[in-house]
């Protein structure tokens, strides 16, 4: 049905193998870069071909399973038999994800050729990136939970490898390796939940295939406790991967990696895996209103809290990291109120404009010679014009200014939050939208506008073409990416929503939510959001360009809250005190010093010492005098004859 879908996976894998095995021998950055980028580019072309094939068939025939090979066969035909195929579920949802992953991924690969120039781990970088693309594609194309989990762990591994890519560099108080370990371990907690959820799926449904699980789940009564626990546990996995409260702490630290990594993995693709997974299992979530509420609340809380933290951060990438967490919260609000298509829509537009923001930040860092503190920037507009314009476009897009992409997706989420959710949820989203516009323009103004605050020795320079061109393409996508989903209220056809409709049809049919729609209100909401965004942008402009002294006085007046925000609500410190320190101390004092050294080593050494003492006595028997042996020998013969004869 979709003959080229296999090659979508194959190209990045080949790229990974080639660059991983031969990269160090290929002396030329050019070849390594082209292999890495080309693999993803070819993969993107294959995905486009698949999309065209999909467009050529009627909507109800578009979802197809492509079986690659049988992966696991255990106890065939009996109760509890486990049969897992490496099969790809190609439907409207996964193709969107594949296009986003390969498309944005390709541009970021090209950008990396410029960004990673003269890095000694150049080939290593590209092989990891290709591996990541491969794992992410496995994740989005998987037709069952186990294969999805394989991709899920694969992207986690690549994330770990790439956060710690510059393993010898300092990062904040420790090293990038520590940041990588933190990301990995926090993700493990989420993965643990995901695994339990998967086990529960298997014991409940006897299969791991999404299609079968969804079909069987339709027969379950709403609010069945089994469904509740499955969805809740899977959501724990999603909070880990998608950096939602309370497992959001790893994402800001993940900024220790190279900036293209932050753009690709920690903004555009991997972190959205949780949203994708919820959308993929939408039927289960639709059947469990309690989990839906939890998802929406967690998403809303994350969106708001992360946005407030983003207001005061001074590291350019940290601001964007909290922005990402906040936007992911938005997506969870969307899937939490049953607006899966809206969540996916925001996922896609966010991938575009957040990629631009991160890549722009990368260009700034590159041009400023590894300076990341926005307090030491300013006035970069005239040195980095391309970066300036693209960053502006993306900032407007994330703020929700029409007709840029962010406006449509955000608006759809807010509308659905009000209709399907509650007023409070809408209010949270609405506030977050204002905060988003504010912090992103604070960032923008501090970087590009105003007077230079950096030392005279630094001479900012524009990025090379390899970095500029992806920025420009992605900026255009940030502008136009939203036009596929213009809502009916604005005269559009919401083509994107209708495209995904067959996928979410089962979920909608079992959903207990009662949509309550009215166009008048929708227009009103749009207007309100727009006005808020414009107001916030203007506020940022006034505070950070026109009247800088106001910032200082505000900071002074609200010193307490400011400190709390600057320290990210002390979540890291709280985790340190509550979880990390007890475990470390317990391991050191109890497990290491007492159990390992005392009991384990003691037992081993004790046994050895016992034998030593024993042999010290018995070795005296070995005198070396042959006649002694002869005497003992005779004794033996005496007994042997006695035994044999009598």
């Amino acid at each position: 049905m979709y003959p080229v879908i296999g090659t979508v996976l194959l190209f990045p894998l080949v790229g990974f193998v080639v660059n991983g095995l031969l990269g160090s021998r290929l002396k030329s950055e050019k070849i390594v870069g082209w292999i890495g980028s080309g693999a993803v580019g070819l993969s993107f072309l294959a995905a486009v071909v698949t999309l065209l094939q999909m467009l050529s068939v009627p909507a109800d025939l578009r979802a197809q399973t492509v079986n690659l090979f049988t992966w696991i066969t255990a106890a065939t035909g009996t109760e509890g038999s486990l049969n897992v195929s490496a099969a790809l579920l190609v439907d409207q949802l996964s193709i969107v994800m594949v296009l986003v992953v390969t498309g944005v991924g390709f541009l970021i690969h090209v950008y990396s050729i410029g960004y990673m120039h003269v890095d000694r781990g150049f080939w290593r970088f590209f092989s990891y990136m290709n591996l990541f693309i491969f794992a992410m594609l496995v994740l989005v194309l998987a037709d069952n939970f186990l294969l999805l989990f394989l991709g899920w762990e694969g992207v986690g591994l690549c994330s770990y490898l790439l956060i710690g890519f510059w393993y010898d560099r300092k990062f904040e108080k420790s090293t990038t390796s520590d940041a990588a370990k933190k990301a990995f371990i926090v993700n493990r907690i989420g993965d643990f939940g995901f695994l339990l959820g998967m086990f529960l799926v298997f014991t409940t449904f006897g299969t791991l295939k999404f299609v079968s699980v969804s079909r069987q789940a339709m027969a379950f009564a709403p609010a069945d406790p089994r469904i509740f626990w499955i969805t809740l546990l899977l959501f724990v996995g999603a909070t880990g991967k998608s950096a939602q409260i309370p497992l959001h702490v790893w994402l800001p630290d993940a900024m220790a990696g190279p900036t293209p990594v932050s753009a690709l993995i920690h903004a555009a693709t991997m972190v959205t895996a949780g949203v994708y997974m919820v959308a993929r299992t939408s039927v289960l979530y639709a059947l469990s209103p309690a989990t839906m509420t939890i998802v929406a609340i967690v998403g809303g809380a994350t969106a708001l809290l992360a946005a407030t933290i983003g207001l005061v951060q001074n590291d350019i990438k940290k601001v964007l990291a909290y922005s990402t967490i906040s936007q992911l919260g938005y997506m969870f609000v969307a899937v939490g109120v049953g607006a899966y298509a809206a969540g996916m829509f925001h996922l896609m537009t966010h991938a575009f404009f957040k990629a631009v923001l991160f890549l722009g930040a990368g260009a700034v860092i590159h041009g400023m010679h590894d300076e990341q503190d926005i307090q030491k920037m300013g006035g970069l507009k005239k040195y980095l014009p391309t970066t300036y314009w693209t960053f502006l476009v993306a900032a407007l897009a994330i703020s929700g200014i029409p007709p840029l992409s962010g406006f449509f997706s955000k608006d759809e989420i807010l509308t659905k939050a009000l209709f399907n959710g509650s007023t409070l949820l809408w209010l949270v989203g609405f506030l977050t939208a204002g905060l988003t516009a504010f912090y992103i323009f604070r960032l923008f103004c501090l970087i590009f506008e105003g007077k230079p605050r950096y030392s005279a020795e630094i001479h900012p320079h524009e990025a090379p073409p390899a970095m500029r061109i992806p920025l420009i393409i992605l900026a255009f996508l940030s502008i136009g990416g939203g036009w596929v989903g213009i809502p009916a209220a604005l005269g559009g056809g919401n083509w994107f929503g209708r495209w995904l409709e067959p996928v979410f049809q089962p979920a909608a049919s079992v959903s207990l939510l009662v949509p309550d729609e009215s166009r008048v209100i929708e227009h009103l909401l749009m207007g309100l959001t727009f006005l808020l965004a414009v107001g916030a942008i203007f506020g940022a402009y006034v505070l950070y360009i026109k009247r800088e002294e106001l910032v200082k006085s505000l900071r002074h007046r609200f010193a307490g809250p400011y400190k709390v925000l600057l320290n990210k609500y002390y979540v890291d410190e709280a985790y340190d005190a509550a979880v990390v320190t007890p475990i470390v101390k317990g391991s050191q004092k109890l497990l290491w010093k007492w159990f390992d050294v005392g009991i384990v080593d003691g037992a081993v050494n004790g046994v050895a010492r016992l034998f030593w003492l024993f042999s010290n006595v018995t070795r005296r028997v070995q005198t070396g005098v042959a006649q002694s042996y002869a005497v003992v020998f005779m004794l033996g013969i005496l007994f042997a004859i006695w035994w044999l004869v009598f």
């Binding site: 005098v625 006649q627 005497v631 005779m634």
Partner: protein, 100 residues
């Protein structure tokens, strides 16, 4: 006629003398000779049985024992010479470095 038992008891006594020689003497050559004595007492038993049972196997065995004894004497005395050259002694209780 003499019963076989006489030969057997004689052979047992000679064997016991050989064993005593092995355990009480210090000179390795005497120990060696005591071993030859033991071998010969066994030979006597074998020949005795051979004669009284009318079976040539016993005498064949004696023949081979003598061949082996010759070989053993040659090698054993070679070792004694090499040992004496090295340690200036033939006392078995002084040759005791093969121990803990």
């Amino acid at each position: 006629m003499i019963p076989l038992d006489y030969y057997l008891i004689l052979s047992a006594l000679l064997f016991t003398f050989g064993v005593i020689g092995v355990v009480i003497r210090r000179n390795v050559i005497i120990v060696f000779m005591s071993i030859e004595l033991m071998l010969n007492s066994v030979n006597l038993t074998l020949v005795g049985y051979s004669a009284y049972l009318g079976d040539p196997t016993g005498q064949m065995l004696v023949f081979f024992v003598i061949a082996v004894a010759a070989a053993e004497a040659a090698v054993g005395l070679g070792i004694v010479i090499a040992l004496f050259r090295l340690r200036r002694t033939v006392n078995v209780d002084e040759i005791n470095i093969l121990k803990w």
